[in-house]
């Protein structure tokens, strides 16, 4: 097992004919992912890396039985394509592109929730289950099969943590990029819940960063519901305080958002705090993870 991606996952690539879409389709196929189709309006009937391209998501779903989609669509068209994808019945969507207006993300999120669709991003490297497949841009060489789950707000830091673990022969069950935007399509706690329920995951690493309140809210979930060991690293201690732009956010969030605040709440929930990424190797050894 693993979360989100397994043997039944049939992936379409939206924006498959673009520069990034086609290169990443190559890497996904090479990693063994079942990429069954691609979508680019107006390019139906062609193929990319041997994968058939369709004009609409509905057609792609009908012809290929796809149940998951990964987006390499220009930011300005993501909202429209996302809604189309949900209406076509896809239940797992990974939105890789960055620079999507927050208002669009709010609309996407509310529609996904309404329709029971699990979506990740925007600005996410995607999901990778070692040995099973990947939806997104994660570079395969850093990952190894195993029983540790990783959830990261940062793309490249998720590679770093997986790579450090792989070097000491600790594999991963699934690595999930949450996305780095102010509003993401799924919150941290929802993904933790999937790992908690996954019989092939023994422990979970949260790779967080300064700002927002994902980690603080997750701490509540962990203390109430998590039974598996959790470790967390929070990047950004040395970052200059972001120029403060108003009080509304601070009022809504209270003291949340600082590295100290996040570490404190996670620690109180029983999470082991990693002060530097490399410490994850010791933590894995201490917990007999592999």
């Amino acid at each position: 097992m693993s979360i989100l991606i397994d043997d039944s996952t049939r992936v379409i690539v939206q924006g498959i004919t673009g520069r990034i879409g086609s290169v990443q389709t190559h890497w996904m196929l090479e990693y063994g992912t079942r990429v069954v189709g691609g979508v680019t309006p107006g390019k139906g009937g062609t193929t990319v890396e041997g994968v058939p391209v369709f004009d609409s998501v509905l057609e792609a779903v009908k012809e290929t039985g796809a149940n998951a989609s990964v987006f390499f669509v220009p930011a300005a068209f993501v909202l429209d394509a996302f809604l189309e994808t949900i209406d076509a019945g896809i239940k797992l969507i990974v939105v890789v592109p960055e620079h999507i207006p927050v208002r669009d993300v709010m609309k996407m999120r509310s529609y996904a929730v309404e329709k029971g669709v699990f979506a990740l991003g925007p600005t996410t490297p995607g999901i990778l289950s070692p040995g099973k497949g990947k939806m997104g841009i994660m570079p395969a060489s850093l990952f190894a099969p195993g029983r540790v789950g990783i959830i990261s707000r940062s793309g490249t830091l998720s590679y770093e943590f997986a790579g450090i673990l792989s070097e000491v022969n600790v594999g991963q069950s699934t690595v999930v990029g949450m996305g780095a935007d102010p509003v993401v399509l799924r919150n941290l706690a929802d993904i933790l819940e999937l790992f908690e329920r996954d019989t092939d995951t023994d422990a979970v690493i949260i790779v967080g960063e300064v700002g927002g309140e994902q980690e603080e809210k997750a701490a509540g979930f962990i203390s109430r519901r998590m039974t598996k060991p959790v470790a967390a690293y929070i990047a950004g201690r040395q970052s200059p305080q972001g120029k403060r732009m108003g009080h509304a956010g601070a009022i809504v969030r209270g003291a949340a958002g600082t590295v100290d605040g996040k570490q404190k709440e996670l620690r109180a929930a029983g999470v082991e705090i990693l002060e530097s990424p490399i410490h994850v190797a010791d933590w894995a050894r201490k917990n007999n993870l592999r």
Binding site: S154, G163, E209, G212, G236, S239, M245, I251
Partner: protein, 379 residues
């Protein structure tokens, strides 16, 4: 992108939010002229894009012409939180009965806009929120349902206000919400929203931060976004399409990904000091990394450079070519350490090594920074 207060007040005025009589001055002479039209006393407010300006001396009163001359002179030659004051807003000093707070922001966790109000506006609003939560109320707006005036009225009723104030305040909430929607604001704020002795309201301070990702589709006039960046290096970063933050250390940093960049800074910071934060995003090309090298080298006295990139969406072998070209052309002599992993990593290492870059092939950034410290540490 945050707008200046004087720009925001203009937008508020166009959208029928009551704002003070005012003018914007770049010189003491201009400030005197404006005050002459408005009449004394006046407020002088430094136009810098930094929070906590009031507590840092950026908001002052002038009762007379002489006082104004002194204050304006001083303000226009000062820095506030490291930012030079180039313009001063001169505005009417209204009589104040009470100071309220009104802010609209995006609540990242719930993914919804949120309207926040308080009966105790002013500089200490965050303390009020912590210590007297009953004086603060907020409401989330369902994006598919939208905003309606009754939502504002019911929000304000929770603060136990008189109907007359509820009526005029909820009008302003509607107007501010409309501005936030049209300008795709991440933050729209009035603090304080002043109640005048006659019961009328006045937006005495104004904050508007626009979603950078939405700039191209906003149909209303906006100031140029690059021009307003004070720091020339940060401005250059914006021009070439990367995020650059100027810091006061001496280790140059290029990273792909904000999280990786922050972690790199944290680790460098344990024994050394970073000169900058630079995050390329997902658009690496040879040309971009050439320009990034050029940018970080604009800081004098750099002792070393650390490049930390992953080949996921980025073609890191292309990036390496740009770095190497810069090193050759400019004859860079300070140590350059690179960690570059992922797709086409071996090819990338070879390119780096051809220019004498120290390549670290282990995954942990700590190991690469140990190498860096070894090379410059005792320098």
């Amino acid at each position: 992108m945050r707008l200046h207060e004087y720009e925001t007040l203009d937008i508020f005025e166009q959208n029928r939010i009551p704002v003070p009589r005012r003018g914007i001055a770049g010189t003491t002479h201009e400030a005197l002229q404006i005050a002459g039209e408005i009449g004394f006393p006046v407020m002088l407010k430094a136009q810098v894009l930094a929070g906590g300006r009031g507590l840092a001396g950026g908001v002052r009163v002038a009762l007379t012409q002489d006082e104004l001359e002194d204050v304006a002179e001083e303000m226009l030659s000062s820095d506030i939180k490291g930012l030079p004051v180039r313009k001063v807003l001169v505005c009417e000093k209204a009589a104040i009965e009470k100071e309220l707070y009104l802010g609209i922001t995006v609540d990242g966790y719930s993914g919804r806009p949120v309207i926040v109000v308080s009966t105790e506006g002013g500089m200490l609003i965050e303390e009020t929120a912590r210590n007297s939560p009953e004086k603060v109320a907020s409401i989330h707006i369902d994006p598919s349902f939208g905003y309606y005036p009754y939502l504002a009225r019911s929000l304000l009723r929770r603060l136990g206000l008189k109907e007359q104030l509820i009526a005029s305040w909820s009008d302003i909430i509607g107007q501010l919400y409309n501005i936030a929607r049209r300008y795709e604001a991440l933050i729209a704020e009035i603090n304080p929203l002043v109640v005048r002795p006659n019961g009328g309201l006045l937006a005495v301070d104004a904050v508007l931060e626009v979603d950078d990702s939405a700039l191209s589709r906003i149909r209303f006039p906006l100031p140029d976004r690059i021009d307003r960046i004070e720091n020339p290096l940060e401005r250059r970063g914006r021009e070439i399409g990367v995020t650059y933050v100027d810091l006061d250390g001496d280790i140059g940093l290029i990273s792909s990904g904000a999280g990786l960049g922050m972690a790199s800074m944290d680790i460098i910071g344990e024994k050394m000091k970073p000169a900058n934060f630079l995050e390329t995003g997902g658009g690496i090309t040879a040309d971009l990394l050439y320009k990034c090298m050029e940018l970080i080298m604009m800081k004098p006295d750099l002792r070393a450079i650390f490049i930390n990139v992953y080949g996921g969406i980025n073609p890191i072998h292309e990036g390496a070519k740009g770095v190497v070209r810069y090193i050759h052309e400019r004859n860079v002599r300070i140590p350059v350490v690179a960690k570059a992993l992922g797709n086409r990593q071996e090819e990338t290492w070879e390119i780096f090594r051809s220019a004498g870059v120290h390549v670290v092939t282990e995954t942990a950034t700590e190991k690469a920074i140990d190498k860096l410290y070894e090379l410059v540490g005792r320098g």
